[in-house]
Amino acid sequence: MNITRFTSKGFLIPGLISLVILIALVTLPFYGSLYNVIMVTSILMYIILTVSWVLFSGPTGYMSLATAAFFGIGIYASAIFLPNTGAILPLLVVVVIGGLVSSLVALGVGALTLRLRGIYFAIFTFGLVVLILELGNWWEHTVTHTRGRFVMLVDNDVIFYIMLAIFVLLMLTTYLIRRSKFGLAMRSIGENEEAAAHIGVNVTMVKVITFAISAFFMGAAGVIWATKLTYVDPYVAFNPLFSFMPVLMAIFGGMGQIYGPVIGAVIFAYLQEKLQTEFPYYYMLIFGFVLVAAILYLPDGLIGLIQKLWRLIRRWRKGGAAKQDANT
């Protein structure tokens, strides 16, 4: 048996569905309205944050709340290298730089902190967001004397395609890692870190590298997101909300399957955009209620719920069939 080889049946249908979705996305600017393109761009952004969060936190079980830090580093890279006064570097180069700087920070932070277990790791990573936010604020106030920065305007279609490219790259990476030896190492760490170390898994290295890979995508997404925002200051860039949203979206969707977080992010991001535009005054309230309800009633996420329903229906149908058998 070979885990790296997949059976054709298990691969064909998801492969086809992915292809159809991909084609629909690539051609979106040709048939969709500008509003649709912008909406899908932000949904893609949330998917990227969620899937890259799951990439690390899902299998290893370390709840990282550093997403806003990595995302914000990307946003700031954009603000520095792509000011509205004229781009200093080409857009795509900045996207890569944003990703790389985020990865570097993740490497450093990971090497320092990944020995912290459980809630301590979550608290530390969240602290990182606030620390960077406050230092950024202080820097802007007292060193550069700036209050926010403006990012150059980029065509909405270009933003969309770059976001889409990051998304596709991320899905491929996730897929390959899941099926690789590296993915097995990550899962064993999540199952039992001590045992993993004693069967030869270089636990620290696997964790730190995965953390850095996931940070790369967050940073890259931040760069392109900033061009959509156009105005950036530390509060915008390092908004703690972006640390919590991926976690909630992943839980909402269900983390067992690769598509769970994606579905969670799509629904959540759509809901958020809609609420924000249609009920700006009740947005926070409704959103909060949905969050609490999702955690209370969907512990395994939507996917878990669907699977449960599916099982119920099957059992019910089987039960019905058995009864008919008994009657005849």
């Binding site: 979550a122 406050e134 604020n137 947005y283 909060g288 609490v292 955690i295």
Partner: protein, 292 residues
């Protein structure tokens, strides 16, 4: 009295005052996390609610803020008690293991933060509000301090100490402490664990509410003000050792003094300074200064 000594005294009193408030908030969160295992991200919202309620009670109804302590405290207690009895009990029973409960309850309180902020936004709007109370100078051996500073300081420390004595001396307090140390043994010894958890959550919320009442005399209020206090409380309870009540009290006082000194140097750096100390400490002593 020379200028420099007055400055030092001013910073010291300010530090103690801030520290007293922090100590209350942190003791509250310490109860909720240390015993009930809920890292309550919406903790600061109870401070915000306490502060805004006082604002309304004082400016509209004309009730003295110090009397508000007796109104806000019990109400916050009831809200916290009921939250634990419903939301968190449900999460606890459905969680497969303690780690999963910590994660799901943390996320639920994040949602709760939104709900409470959303409600506050409906009632009080997004603008900053403030009122003045006891805002006159008091001469303490040549140095002038604003009266409300001294009153807040006195009440904060008084409430903190009273609560500590309650934990140390009373029957109920002992039950809470034994549950904090070891829930399984405590429940074997006949402590009704669900009631203790709800009590802890209620007391935690009450401490935050009281801190809000007191601090509202000195700061501008806004529905989004809560989160920073939650963050500070998290820092303190990690510094003091998760779940240690005296650790939270002392840690709060220390952080308040540090905060006032940093603020004296550069106000925009205080939260960054807290986090810097905090992260350094987390790396050197992950169990906190007073943790075992």
């Amino acid at each position: 009295m020379p200028e420099s000594i007055v400055t030092i005294m001013d910073v010291a009193i300010g530090g103690l005052l801030l520290g007293g408030i922090y100590a209350l908030i942190a003791m509250g969160l310490s109860l909720q996390y240390g015993v009930a295992r809920v890292l309550n991200i919406s903790h600061g919202e109870f401070i915000m609610l306490g502060a805004f309620s006082t604002f309304t009670l004082y400016t509209v109804v004309g009730i003295n803020p110090l009397i508000c302590l007796a109104i806000v405290g019990p109400i916050a207690f009831i809200i916290g008690f009921l939250l634990q009895r419903t939301l968190f009990t449900q999460l606890r029973t459905s969680a497969p293991n303690p780690g999963a409960f910590e994660a799901s309850s943390l996320l639920a309180t994040f949602g709760l933060m939104y709900v409470i902020q959303g409600i506050a936004l409906q009632i009080w709007g997004a603008d900053y509000r403030a009122y003045t109370y006891l805002n006159f100078g008091v001469d303490l051996g040549g140095a002038i301090f604003s009266a409300n500073k001294l009153v807040i300081l006195g009440f904060a420390i008084g409430i903190g100490v009273a609560f500590y004595i309650f934990l140390a001396r009373t029957h109920m307090g002992k039950g809470i402490r034994s549950a904090a140390q070891d829930p399984t043994t405590a429940s074997l010894m006949g402590v009704n664990i669900n009631r203790v958890l709800a009590l802890c959550f209620g007391f935690g919320a009450a401490m935050a509410g009281l801190a809000g009442v007191l601090y509202s005399m000195r700061i501008p209020l806004n529905p989004a003000m809560g989160l920073q206090y939650t963050l500070i409380a998290i820092i303190i309870i990690v510094l003091g050792g998760l779940g240690s009540i005296p650790g939270a009290f002392i840690g709060g006082l220390i952080l308040g003094i540090i905060g006032e000194i940093v603020t004296y140097i550069d106000p925009s750096l205080s939260l960054a300074a807290y986090y810097f100390i905090f992260m350094l400490l987390l790396l050197v002593r992950p169990k906190g200064i007073f943790g075992k």
